[in-house]
Symmetry: D2
Subunit: 361 residues, 4 copies
C-alpha cells in the first residue's frame, strides 16, 4: 500500500489537472455564452444541462454514486454560469460591485448618506387635520428636523378602518412642510396614485406591505422623485435589495432603504428590529439606509436605545412617529411620541446626530 | 377577622352590584352610540376616554394602583365598544356570524365548497408556449381536472427574471382551457391589469406577495369574477380573512381562500404548511378554502402527504403545479409535477377526491 | 469562431475527462481514508485542505476567480469526504438507509408503528391527585385507550409555578395505569431522575424544552425503556432526527418521535403544527411518529381537524390531554379536553383509528 | 331622548360607583388572600372563580352577552390576583421592582455592569489543545482581555461530532487563564458536571440549548460561581428572564444574561440579533447583559457593526470567538476571528470599550 505522502502527491497532481480542465472548460463555455448573447438566447439552458448530466451518469463507473457526480457537475455548470452572471451582477445597479462609492442623495438642501450627519424623518402616522400637521411641522421644523412624514393613504388591515385623507391629506402635508422649509415624505399604495403623490411629496414611501408589489415598484421607478423603500415584514434582505433594483431598473436611482423590523415569535415587541440587515444592506449596496424605530419595536420605551443602536451600526437616518396628542391619534396611538417625548429623544441622540455617517467605500 | 366564608359572601354581593352597574352603563353607552351614528360620528372617541380615565385616576384611593384602575376601565370601555362592534362584526361579510351556511361557488359547471367533492386546480407555474399549454390542458382535462392554472404575469424577486408572457399568455391559457372545457385561473398583479385579466380568466388569483396590496384587493372586488386569494407568506390568519373582506367590501362575494405555507426557520421545506389556518378559516368564515401544496413544501415528495392532510382537515380543493417537462420549465422547476407524477398523485388521492367536503354549518 | 455545436462537443469531451479524473481522485482519497482509519485519525483534515486550496489558488490562471476555484474544490473535497460519511450515514441508526423497514414498537401488548392502527396517548397535563388519575384512567381505559399520560415533573417557565408531584405522582400514575391495564408515559427532565422514572413508567417522555439537552438524551439512551421524543419548539427536522440518534447511539432503539408544533409569528394558535415534519420524519427515519395536537394548537376547537390531518399524513398515533375538570386544572387549563369532549373527539376519529398506518417501506 | 351631555354625566356617575365597588372588592379579596397565606393555600382558586362566573352568568340580564360578562369579571379577578402577585413580582428576584439599582458583578478584579467599561469575553469555540489555549490566552491577555472562554463540553447536533475534551479541556482552560491572569468561562451541560466545572471555571456558562433545562438552571443556582446565561434560540425575553430567576431562586444572584440571536426565516445570517431584548432585559432586570456577536450573525463581516450596536444599546460586554487558526478549528470555523481579525475588531471598538456602561437606575 502506498504511503499517505505518496497518495497525497498523486492527489496534488490530479488537482492540478482538474484545474486545467476546469479552466479550459470555462473558456469554452464563455464562448458559447457570447454566441447565445448574439442570438438573444438566455445563458441558462436546462435541457442541455440535463443532456450532459445524463451522459455523465451513463459514463460513471464509480466510486462516486450517480447523485454525487450530478451534484459535482451541477456545481461546475453553476460556476460557469456564474462567470457570466457575475457580469450580470456587476450590472445589478444597486450593488457595490457596480458602484463602490456610497450614494449621497441630495433632496432640496438635505443630504442623506455616508459622510453626512444622519437625518431624522419625523411626523404623525396619519395626516388627520390641518391643525395637527401645522403644529407638528412647526414643532419639528423648530427643532431642526428637515423631513416631515405623514400618511395620506393608510394601509389598513380592515377595509373599514380609517383609510387616510387622500388628496386632502397630501395638500395639508405639502403646505405644512413648505411653511417650515421641510421636505415631505408620504406613502403611495396604488400605481394609479403615483402621479398625484409625486406632485405633492418630495419623497415617495413604499410601505412594508407593498415591498413585493412589483407593479408599484416599477411605477415609482418611473417617477422623478426619491423613494423610501421599507423592508417587507418578512422579506429577506436579498428580496429587499432586489426590490430596490426594481426601482433602479426603471431609471430611478434615488432609493433610501428603510429597515423596520421583521415578524418573529417574540411578543414583547411588535416586530424584531434586524440591525444585521442594515449592516448588510450598506455592505452589499451603495444606498442610504434608515431605520424606522417606531414600527420596529412598537413601544415608546425602546425608541431611544434602538435609535442609538441603529446609528452605531451605520444607519443614515432615523424614522420616528411624532403626534401632538398620541392618545387621541386615529392610528398607532400606542407608539407615537408626543412633543415632549420627541424633545427628550432628540436631545439624547444629539451627539450621534452630529457625527457624519461612516463611509463604507 | 371575618371568616373566608363571610368575606366571600361580601364579594358575591359586590359582584352582583358591579354587574348591575356595568349593565346600566352599557345601556347608556349604547344610547350615546346611537346618537353618534345619527350624527355620523365614529363610536370610538379617544379624547372622551382619556378624560374619563383622568377622572378615575384622580378619584382612585386604592388599593388598586392607578395603572390597574385604568386597565380595568379600558376593558369596560372596550366591552361597551364591542357591543357596537359586535354588530359591526355581524356585518363583516365573510364571517360565519353573518352567514352561517358554507358558501358554495358555482363557476361554469364547477362547484367549490362544502357538500361538493374537493376540486383540483392544476397547471404550470408559468405559461411558456402554446404547445406547453395545449399539452397540459389536454392531459389534465383528460384526467377530469376542471380548473387550469397558469401564470401570464409572474411576480419575480429579480426585475430581470422572466416576467411572464402577459396578454399573449392570457390568450394561450384561455384557448387551452376552452378546448378542454376547463376553467382558467391566472394571477393578476396590477390594478390596471384587472380588466384585461378578467376578460380572459374565469378566476382571478391574488398572489401571496399581493395579499396586503389593498388597492388590488379593492380592484378585484369590483370585478365580476371569482377571486382566489392566497395567504401572504407571513400574514396572520386574521389579516388573511380581512383581505377577503376587502374584496367583499367592494361587492364581490366570490372569494376562495388559498393557504400556501408560511415563512419559518425550517430549511427542509420551502414554507411551513399551516393547516390550523385552514381549519380556522373554515370555522370563522363561510368561504371555500383550498390548499396550494406545491408552494407549501417546495418538494415533490411532500405533495401527496400534504394533500391528504389538507383534505382531511376539510379543504375544498388542492392547488398543484403540473408541467410537461419540469426540468426545462422557466420557473419553479424543482417542484412541479410531470404528467406521470400527477397521475400517481391524483390516483393516490382519488378516494378523498370523491368524498364531499364536510359542511361546517 | 467555432459553432455552438463544435464548442459543445469540446465541452462534452472535457466533461468525460473531468469525470475520469474525479473518479481516480476519489479512489486515492478512499485509500488515504483507510490509512487514517488504521491510524485512528479523523477523515477530515482541515490543514491539508487549506494547503491544497493555497496551491490551487497559486496555480490558477483564470478565467475562474480564485473564490470560485476554491469553492469548486471544496465541493470536490466534500464529495470525497461524503463517500466516507455516506457510510457513516448508512450508520446513522435512525435512518431508512440503514433500516428500510418501519420499526414497530411492542410495549406490553401495545404495538406502535406502520401496519398497526394508530394509538391514542391521553391523560392530564399534570398528575394532581389520586382521584384525578383514577377517574381519568378508568374513563380512558374504558374507552379503549391503551396509553395513559400524566406529568409528575413539570417544566415551568417560572420557578415558582407548580412543579409537579414528583415521585408521588409517579406512584399515582403507575397505579392508575395498572388498574386499567394501560401503559404509563411521563416526562423526565433531569438525568438524575431517569432511573426512578424508568422504574415507574413504561415510556419516558423527553419534552420539547429538553430536545437539545444532550446529556438527558444520552441518559434515556441508556435506560431500558422506550422514549417519546418531542420536537423542540424551534428545532429543525434535522436536529430532531439527530436527537433521536443520540438515544440510539447509547443503545436504545425504541424511540417514538412526537411533533407538537413550532414557534411562529401566528397568534391565533399557540404553535404552528408542522405536518411536513411528520411526513419527512417518516420518510427519513424508520421510527414511529405521533402528533401532540394539544400543544400544537393550544385550542380545543382545533384538536379534531388537526388529529384528522395528522392521521391522514401517516402519523402512528395522537397525543391529547384529557382532564376530569379542565377549568380547575393546575396547568394548561385552556386546552385540555374533559371526558365529554374526549368522547366526541374519539368518536369522530374512530374511522381513522381503525385503519392501519400505511407502511412506507 | 337624553342629550349626549346628559348621558355622559350619567356614565361619569356610574364610573365613580364602579370604582368604589371595585376598590372595596379588592380590599376584601386581599383579606381572603391573607387568610389563604396563613393556611398555606394558593391565592388562585379556579373552582371558586368558576362558581362566581356561573352565578354572574345566571344573574346577567344583558345587554352584555354572557361571554363579555365573564371576560370583564375575569379581568376583575385577575386585577385582584395581580394585587397579590405584584408583591410576588416584587419578589421576582431579578426584577428592577425588587432592586432598582444595576447589579455590578465583581469576579476576581473584573467588574461587569453599569458604571463600568464593557468587558470583552473572548476565546475559541472549543478547547482543542494546550498550544491552542496558551497561544490564544497569551494573545488575548496581552491585548487586555480579562475573560477567556473555551468549550470543554460541546453541544453538538450529531452524537458523533467532536464533543469536547471534557476535564482535560477544563484543565487546559484553567491553566491558560491563570498564566495570563484572566478569568475562565466555560459551558456546563449536565447537572452532574456542575461540580467539576465549578472547580475549574470562574464563570459557568449555560448555553442556548439548555436555557429551558430547568434542572441545570437550579443546579448552577446552587453553585457558588457566577453564571453566564445565554438566551435560547427561540426563547421569548420573558422566558429568558424567568430562566435567570431559576438561578436566583436557588440562592445564586450572580447572573449575566447573554443575547445571541434568535431563529428567524432570514438566511443571510445564522441568527437574527435581537437588540430590543438587550434593552428590555436591562429595563426589566438589574442584571448585566452581554451580547454574543459570533453566534448572532455567524459571519465575520458583521461582528464589528453588531458589537457597536450592542454597546450603543447599553450592553455590558461583548462575547466573541477567537482562534489561532479558524480555518482548521474543529468547530464553527466560518465565524471565529483569527488574531489579526481580533486586533482590528478590538481597535475599532476601543472608543466604546472605554466608556462606562450607562446605569439605568
Amino acid at each position: 500500500m502506498d504511503s499517505i505522502a505518496t497518495l497525497r502527491a498523486k492527489v496534488d497532481e490530479i488537482n492540478a489537472q482538474l484545474l486545467d480542465l476546469l479552466s479550459e472548460r470555462a473558456r469554452i463555455v464563455v464562448q458559447i455564452g457570447q454566441q447565445h448573447s448574439l442570438l438573444g438566447k438566455p445563458h441558462y439552458d436546462p435541457a442541455r444541462e440535463e443532456e450532459m448530466l445524463r451522459n455523465l451518469a451513463k459514463a460513471n463507473r464509480g466510486p462516486f454514486p450517480e447523485a454525487t457526480v450530478k451534484k459535482l457537475f451541477k456545481e461546475i455548470f453553476k460556476a460557469s454560469l456564474d462567470l457570466e452572471e457575475d457580469q450580470d451582477q456587476k450590472q445589478l445597479l444597486v450593488s457595490r460591485k457596480v458602484k463602490a462609492q456610497d450614494t449621497v442623495l441630495r433632496i432640496g438642501d438635505v443630504r442623506i448618506g455616508a459622510g453626512e450627519p444622519p437625518v431624522l424623518i419625523a411626523g404623525p402616522c396619519s395626516i388627520e387635520s390641518e391643525e395637527q400637521m401645522e403644529q407638528t411641522a412647526a414643532f419639528l421644523g423648530g427643532r431642526g428636523v428637515k423631513i416631515l412624514r405623514g400618511g395620506a393613504y393608510k394601509p389598513r388591515t380592515s377595509p373599514y378602518g380609517f383609510q387616510g385623507m387622500g388628496v386632502d391629506g397630501l395638500i395639508l402635508g405639502r403646505r405644512a412642510a413648505d411653511q417650515n422649509k421641510m421636505l415631505f415624505v408620504t406613502e403611495v399604495m396604488d400605481t394609479r396614485d403615483v402621479e398625484i403623490v409625486a406632485e405633492y411629496a418630495d419623497i415617495l414611501q413604499v410601505g412594508a406591505r407593498n415591498m413585493h408589489n412589483f407593479s408599484l415598484l416599477r411605477e415609482v421607478g418611473r417617477a422623478h422623485k426619491p423613494v423610501l423603500l421599507k423592508r417587507g415584514f418578512s422579506a429577506t434582505i436579498e428580496e429587499w435589495i432586489y426590490a430596490a433594483e426594481y426601482v433602479f431598473s426603471e431609471g430611478n436611482s434615488e432609493v433610501i432603504l428603510c429597515e423596520r423590523g421583521i415578524r418573529t415569535y417574540e411578543k414583547w415587541t411588535r416586530n424584531t428590529l434586524d440591525l444585521s440587515a442594515v449592516a448588510l444592506a450598506k455592505q452589499e449596496t451603495h444606498l442610504p439606509v434608515v431605520v424606522d424605530v417606531t414600527h420596529a419595536a412598537g413601544r415608546r420605551d425602546l425608541l431611544l436605545p434602538l435609535a442609538r443602536a441603529a446609528l452605531a451600526v451605520g444607519a443614515d437616518g432615523i424614522h420616528v412617529e411624532v403626534h401632538p396628542s398620541p392618545a387621541t391619534a386615529l392610528s398607532d396611538n400606542e407608539q407615537q411620541l408626543d412633543f415632549a417625548g420627541f424633545t427628550r429623544f432628540q436631545d439624547a441622540l444629539q451627539p450621534l446626530l452630529t457625527t457624519p455617517v461612516l463611509a463604507k467605500s
